[in-house]
Amino acid sequence: MTDVPQDSRRSARAEASRRAFYRFRQSRLSMVGATMVAVVVFFTLFGNLLAPYPEHVRGGLNTAERFQAPSLAHPFGTNELGQDVLSLVMAGTPVSVAAGFAVVLIGTVLGVVVGALAGFNGGWIDDVLMRFSDLMLTIPSLILAMAVAAALGPGFVNMIIAIALSWWPGYARLVRGEVLQAREEVYVAAARAIGASPARVLFRHILPNIVSPIIVKMSLDMGFAILTVAALGFIGIGVRPPTPEWGTLLSIARNYMPDFWWTAVFPGMAMFLAVFGFNLLGDGLRDVLDPRARR
C-alpha cells in the first residue's frame, strides 16, 4: 500500500521537471544563454590549459612583440608587455567566474540563514534582522563593497568578502518572504502535528520547497557578481596583476587607446558575453521555475 503514493509522487515530480525542461528548450533565448554559459564554464575549467602562450599568463613578457595588431599568431593582438591578449582573456575566465560564484554563494548562505531565522521565528528577531538588512540595502552595493574593500586593503579574498557583505540582504528578504508564506502551508501544519522539531520543519520541509526562487535569483545574480568583480578590478581594488582579471586588464588597456584598441576591446567583450549568457540563462530559468513571472 505504501508503494503507491510514493510512486505517483515520484512520477509527478519527474513529469513536472520534464515539462519545465520542455518549456526551457522552447525558449530560444534561454538555449542561447545556456550554450554561452556552457562555453564560459568550459573556459573556467580549461582556460589555463588551453591558453596558447601559458608563459604570458604567469607574468612572462616579450618586449620584442609589444602592441602587435590582431593576427593569426595573436588573434587578439598583444599588449604593452608583448603578452598575448587571447591567453590573458582565456586565463582570466576562471578568476572572474570563481570570484563571482564565491560572492553569490557566500551571499546566498548568509542571506538564507538570516532570512530563514527572521521568517521562521518572527517577533523581535524578525524586526531586528530585517531592519538591519533594509539598512544595508540603502547603500548601493558597489559603493558599500568599495568602502569595505578600501578599508580591508586590496586583494582577491578581501574583494570577495567586500562584495559578499553587500550581497546577502537581497537573499535575506527573498527567503524571509518565502518562509513566511510556506509557514502557513498545510504540509507544515501536518509536519508539526506529527511532532517534528522546529529545526526539522525548517530544514526538511520548508527550505526544500523554496529552493527554486533562490536558484533563479542566484543565476540572475551571477552576471552582476562578475560585473561587480570586474568593476572593482577596474577601479584598482580587486585582483592585482600579474593575475589576469578582465576588469584589471581593461583598466590598464584604457591608457593605450585608441591606437591599441584591441588590448581593451577583447577583454571587455569577453566580460560582456559571459554576463550576457548568465543573464539570458537566468531569465529563462525564471520563466520556467517561477510561475508568477511568465511572459
Binding site: 533565448l29 548601493p140 559603493i143 584598482g236 543573464n279
Partner: protein
C-alpha cells in the same frame, strides 16, 4: 498629505543613524591598523602615536563614534588622512557634477524607456517586442565602464564628434554657479555657447550611465502595461468602441507609469553607485572620481564619506518617489 510627508521624513531618522554606524564600523573597526595605514610604512612608533592622538583614534570606540556623529551633524565629515583637507569641502565641490550626470542619465532613461516599454507591450510577442527584449538583456549585461570606453573609442577618438572626457574646457570659465549644474547655469546666464559645450561634454557619460536603467525601465513599463491592459476597465473601454490609441494614452499610460515609478526610485541609488565607474572613465570631476582617486592612495575616509552621502541621497530620493506616488495614486495616501 502633509502628515503623510512628515511621517515619511521621520521614518528615515533611524535609517540615517544606522548608516553612520555602518560607516563608522567600516572606517574605524575593519582596517586592522588605520593609523599605521595613514602614517605610512616608514613611520616611527612616536609618529604613529602622535597621529593617533591628533585624529582621536586613541579614545574608546564609543567616544570616537560620538565625536564622528556630532561632527557629521555640524557638516564635518572628518579629514582626509592623505591630503589633510576636510572631506566636506571636497564633497561640496564635487557633488553638483555627480548630480548633474545622474539626473541627465535618469532623464534620458525615462524619456526613452517609458515610450519603448509601452510600444513593446502594445506589440507584445511581435518583432519589436522580441527585439527590445534581446536589446534590454544585452544593455543590462554591458559593463558601464566598458560601454564608456567603447563610446570614447568611437565618438571621441575615431569620429572626433565629442570630447574625450572632463566636464568643461580648462581654458574657458564655466558658467556662473547658481545650481552647480553647468547646463542649467548656462541657460540661466543666457549663454547658449556654454550650454552647447556643457551638453557636448555631458553626452557620452550620460549615455553610458543611462543604458542599463533604460533597459530596466523598459521591461518594467512593458510588464505593468500588459498588466493594466488586462484590467476590467480597459476591456470595458474596448467594448464601448474607444479607439486603441485613446485607450492606451488616456487610460493605460497613467496607471502603468505609476507602478514603474518605484523602479525609478530604486535605480537612482544604482545610478549613484555607478557614477564611480563612469566618472573614472570620463574624468568627470564628481564624488565618484574623488572616491576612486582616494582609493588609489589608500585614503578611506573620503570613500566612506562618499558612500554615506550616496546612501543619504538614495534614501531622500525614495522619499520623494513615495510622495510623488501618493500624488499620482491617491489610494496609497491613506494606507
Amino acid at each position: 498629505m502633509l502628515r503623510f510627508i512628515l511621517r515619511r521624513i521621520l521614518l528615515i531618522l533611524p535609517v540615517l543613524i544606522g548608516m553612520t554606524i555602518i560607516m563608522f564600523v567600516i572606517a574605524r573597526v575593519l582596517p586592522g591598523d588605520p593609523v599605521g595605514l595613514a602614517a605610512g610604512p616608514n613611520a616611527t612608533r612616536a609618529e604613529i602615536e602622535a597621529l593617533a592622538r591628533e585624529f582621536g583614534l586613541d579614545q574608546p570606540l564609543w567616544v570616537q563614534y560620538w565625536t564622528y556623529l556630532s561632527g557629521l551633524v555640524q557638516g564635518d565629515f572628518g579629514t582626509s588622512l592623505f591630503s589633510r583637507r576636510p572631506v566636506a569641502t571636497d564633497l561640496a565641490a564635487y557633488l553638483p557634477a555627480t548630480l548633474e550626470l545622474v539626473f541627465s542619465a535618469l532623464l534620458l532613461a525615462i524619456l526613452v524607456g517609458i515610450p519603448a516599454g509601452l510600444m513593446a507591450a502594445v506589440w507584445r510577442n511581435k518583432w519589436p517586442d522580441y527585439l527590445s527584449n534581446i536589446l534590454s538583456v544585452a544593455a543590462i549585461s554591458m559593463p558601464r565602464f566598458f560601454l564608456g570606453l567603447l563610446l570614447q573609442l568611437c565618438f571621441a577618438m575615431w569620429l572626433m564628434w565629442l570630447p574625450l572626457g572632463g566636464r568643461f574646457p580648462i581654458i574657458f570659465d564655466p558658467p556662473p554657479g547658481v545650481t552647480g549644474f553647468y547646463t542649467i547655469d548656462s541657460i540661466i546666464a543666457g549663454d547658449w555657447d556654454s550650454f552647447w559645450t556643457a551638453l557636448r561634454y555631458l553626452a557620452l557619460p550620460a549615455i553610458a550611465m543611462s543604458l542599463s536603467p533604460l533597459a530596466t525601465i523598459l521591461r518594467m513599463m512593458r510588464a505593468s502595461t500588459i498588466e493594466v491592459m488586462h484590467q476590467d476597465y480597459v476591456t470595458t473601454a474596448r467594448a464601448l468602441g474607444l479607439s486603441p490609441r485613446l485607450i492606451v494614452f488616456k487610460y493605460v499610460l497613467r496607471n502603468a507609469i505609476s507602478s514603474s515609478l518605484t523602479v525609478i526610485g530604486l535605480y537612482f541609488g544604482w545610478l549613484l553607485g555607478g557614477t564611480v565607474l563612469v566618472e573614472t572613465v570620463f574624468d568627470w570631476p564628481g564624488i565618484g572620481l574623488y572616491a576612486t582617486s582616494a582609493i588609489v592612495s589608500q585614503d578611506f575616509m573620503p570613500v566612506v564619506s562618499v558612500a554615506l552621502v550616496i546612501g543619504v541621497l538614495f534614501v531622500t530620493a525614495n522619499i520623494v518617489i513615495d510622495v510623488l506616488y501618493g500624488l499620482i495614486n491617491p489610494k496609497v495616501r491613506y494606507q
